[in-house]
Symmetry: C2
Subunit: 440 residues, 2 copies
């Protein structure tokens, strides 16, 4: 057994200990802001060993990009800073009175704490649905979705039972936000254009794809106009958009929407999210989805030394509504938190956080995207190229941008997705699984 370690080292004179929980956009950017400063000593704890470019995770799920294209070890990205230590571990509790966090490898003391634990999928009290409808928040889930989607086409090719085949070629995406739309669009595009030549017994063009959305329209954070344009574009790719349709049950064979039912071998979850539970443990005020309600300087009321950022924070924007859980918001919050800690050390007063709205965008397929920046709204090829450029620009530190750009250019012209590998979870041959023969 590993001995528990006590990290509650004496703080050196004038050196403040900053502990960051979570290495997503908020935590990672807060850490970078504090990198190579001699007056702070940073410890970042994440249960994953990588920083993930979440906006492109769906591309791993649909086999357009490999894992290494959108993720890189936090240790590689931050380990080069003298004053930043990275641990892969799980934070179990926070003691704000004692100023310590408890992890599965010991206790760590802090002068400043930055909580950026993010969100997880939420099945509205039906956690059993997860088995049948995986969400898309990390690489393991993206790999699982890729495996399910590709296995469905393989199984459809093997069977000649037409009812079974129809079920295998039916994909339901629950939730019509950007992730749901991007997943549906990619599967539509893949089945219509890429897969048709390589299957001999099935016609992948017959693939049915559904977006099931409880609200009155998809992409609710966009204007109704762009939302309806996106719907039309999805329909061109064969995606059936069901709005005002709340899922009432999910099982191994499909989804139930009130009295209606869709038989589907593959159901993917892109609906609700809920903040990680740490907010409950420490007894602070949270909103309906578990996000911690913070002061204008992103600190917890009464605890100016504890900041919350990213999807875990409920931050009221300039428009008076909570800021959405998006990468640009988390990125700006992380930078702000890092800067505010540096300001504190210099004895400067804190300024409130102000979100600079860079707009929002969603992609549906090749040459199909929507972009909304303030009152500027556009779609089609121009929106798609904007989307590509913005994502290439922000995709730093992973692979060299030029690699990803070339790969996309290649896919664009050839319509070929290179990464459609089914990697089984079971690696053992002897005694790993009951079905061992089938698992390699």
């Amino acid at each position: 057994m590993e001995e528990k370690r006590c990290f509650n080292m004496e703080s050196k004179i004038m050196t403040k200990r900053v502990v960051i929980v979570g290495g997503g956009f908020a935590g990672f950017n807060a850490a970078k802001m504090l990198g190579n400063r001699h007056d702070v000593e940073v410890t970042l704890v994440d249960r994953k060993n990588y920083h993930l470019f979440q906006p492109l995770l769906y591309q791993v799920a649909v086999a357009a990009l490999g894992e290494g294209d959108i993720a890189a070890p936090l240790r590689n990205m931050l380990g080069g800073y003298e004053n930043i230590t990275v641990f892969k571990g799980l934070v179990q509790n926070v003691d704000m009175a004692a100023k310590t966090i408890q992890t599965d490898f010991g206790e760590i003391g802090y002068d400043y704490l930055v909580l950026t634990c993010g969100v997880q999928h939420h099945y509205f009290g039906n956690n059993g649905w997860e088995e049948f409808a995986p969400g898309l928040k990390n690489l393991a889930q993206a790999t699982e979705i890729r495996r399910r989607v590709m296995e469905a086409f393989e199984a459809a090719e093997r069977t000649d039972n037409l009812v079974e085949r129809k079920k295998l070629l039916t994909f339901v995406i629950v939730g019509g936000g950007p992730t749901g739309v991007e997943l549906a669009g990619s599967i539509g595009e893949m089945s219509r254009f890429t897969l048709s030549k390589i299957y001999k017994h099935i016609d992948p063009k017959l693939t049915r794809i559904f977006i099931v959305e409880a609200a009155g329209r998809i992409l609710g954070s966009f204007s109704p106009e762009l939302s309806s344009r996106a719907t039309r574009e999805l329909e061109k790719l064969g995606v059936q958009v069901w709005t005002s349709s709340a899922v009432s049950d999910v099982d191994a064979n499909g989804v139930q929407i009130g009295r209606e039912r869709i038989e589907a071998a593959t159901v993917l979850w892109a609906a609700g999210v809920q903040a990680q539970e740490i907010g409950k443990h420490i007894g602070v005020e949270t909103d309906r989805t578990g996000r911690i309600i913070v002061e204008p300087d992103l600190s917890i009321p009464g605890h100016p030394e504890v900041f919350v950022g990213g999807d875990q924070a409920c931050v009221i924007g300039q428009k008076g509504t909570p800021l959405p859980g998006m990468a640009p918001v988390a990125l700006q919050e992380g930078r702000y938190i890092g800067k505010t800690i540096l300001d504190d050390l210099k004895g400067r007063p804190r300024k409130p956080f102000r979100y600079r709205d860079k707009g929002q965008m969603a992609t549906i397929g090749r040459n199909k995207a929507i972009v909304e920046i303030g009152n500027l709204k556009f779609d089609g090829a121009a929106a798609w190229f904007t989307w590509i450029l913005v994502h290439i620009y922000y995709l730093t530190g992973f692979k060299h941008r030029v690699f990803v750009l070339m790969q996309w250019a290649w896919s664009y012209f050839t319509l070929a997705h290179g990464a459609r590998l089914i990697v089984n979870k079971e690696w053992r041959f002897y005694g790993g699984s009951k079905q061992k023969g089938n698992e390699e």
Copy 2:
């Protein structure tokens, strides 16, 4: 439930049904040889959905390359041929009298059968060792090895128990063939050059790596001279080479070699292999390792319509000894089988298979490799560049060669490995695992 399908379709006049089991170098090349020929209808069955460039699999295990760089879906590579159908499925039995194979999705009839099922790791009757010492034959295993190696460094960084840390920084590779040497060399290089700057509490240069080999020397298929040069190069990377050392036990904490013991958190298996069991089922003569003994035309004695190729075949070479289980052997056998079937259809007599020996090579690290082509033997940088060129040349059909070449060039100059991601096997958050909090 999927209904079982009967693929025993009537063979069209003059069209021969060729069934290939396995999509490795032998099966894949046999299929390609028969592609777009109107007189044969080819069905290839593999339990994986991808063709793998096995000689570089260790690079995925040590995070130097991503999965998509060395593997591509069989369906993409062969689906373009009009006359080739690919199924992902498991072959359960062969009935040579009825000329059918039984799969988990139905029965398939054949006029020609090509068995290229390959080998699996063999734990000398101790299958329980697999849990503690994964082998390296497919992508799932490579991912598992990568996970174990990277997790060991992460855990070493977290603990300050020195005995525990020493165990975590000890890697034992059982078996001193090319795979064992390549794994040991890569881990040595990674720990000495790449990891040292990004860990703050451990000195990765203290990593101990052992190759434990039962025979009197490593790389037994090479000349004693090159084998000893390789040993010296390994030692420079900190690898301790233990020869004449048969492993007598493997457990969660290390390996026992007779009365000696090495405490190690990570043990990798690169020792024995054994042919897939299909040889036993069909009652044909096999050698000690289960390989099917074939005629000079690679057919099973008494069954000129059944060929065996690749690692599954025991083929006596021109030197009177069995050909080794190497990619070039499998590739040539696959092409020969395809060509022989075409010769049969043209009524031409069969020629015996002759292996054109292209030599063998193994790489130890950057600028370190050994090459042996007939009497020509060399090592060092020249051997390493030969190794790179040969592997780039043969690495077709996966990513574009130029991508892999650029990635290697990048790694060569920066010493950076980009793909050191730990992807957990468990994707579920709710109820997937007892330790659910820790698994993301």
